[in-house]
Symmetry: C2
Subunit: 136 residues, 2 copies
């Protein structure tokens, strides 16, 4: 299939597919006589793997490691689990951080009573960390 079909089949931007090829995440496909990229099923499932992993927030480098692993079926699965577990921990840390931030923001937003900027509680709170209840 041509790049446009692969793009539709996987929900990936065409430019992104070419980008993945350039950085070596996808192998360079064969070319037609007109120099068009020509993909097969192996490409499609590899790209689906990449997209799905990206959607789950894995970095390109993590995905590279995961792909290396799955390219070598004799290797130990533990490494995949280690990568995924580390990523899960990062996501949990990020959530915790955003929750603190959200609470602080909600407090700040709730202070607005209208009026002019000179009296604005929102601007005041942003200017001075001492109005905050948490370290962030």
């Amino acid at each position: 299939m041509k790049i446009g079909e692969l793009s539709r089949a996987t929900g990936t931007n065409i430019e992104t597919i070419r980008y993945y090829e350039r950085i070596g995440l996808l192998p360079a496909p064969d070319r037609t006589a007109a120099n068009y990229r020509s993909y097969g099923d192996a490409h499609r499932s590899r790209l689906s793997f990449v997209r799905h992993s990206r959607d789950l927030g894995f970095t390109i480098e993590e995905i590279r490691s995961l792909l290396d692993l799955s390219d070598d079926p004799a290797r130990d699965c533990g490494e995949a689990d280690r990568i995924a577990t580390a990523h899960l921990e990062q996501v949990e840390a990020k959530i915790a951080q955003l929750v603190v931030l959200r609470d602080e923001l909600a407090r700040i937003v709730g202070r607005c009573r209208g009026g002019v900027a000179a009296d604005c509680r929102v601007i005041e709170a942003l200017g001075d960390h001492r109005h905050c209840e948490s370290q962030h």
Copy 2:
């Protein structure tokens, strides 16, 4: 004060301060005879405002609008409230998205039973969205 002092006073990297000046977020300060930047209290509090807002996740452009507002004390505070509220909503959306993602990841990680990559449930799950319980 010189840039190093301002850096220590606000916990901002020196390069970042110069970057903010370059993009017009901080006004260019006076210079000493040796061409060193020389800052006053107004600079320090403006930079604190910027840093605090960045810590709360506001973008540079949002901060620019907030600073414009506070530079013009007669303007209506509603705009500041609108920016902050919109940002709060974004943070809440991001949290919700990360929670879905975390649950999916936790499910994937939990499937690992060791063994070789060929049988790896983690790699299998990443390759095929149909293993997922949610849209993400």
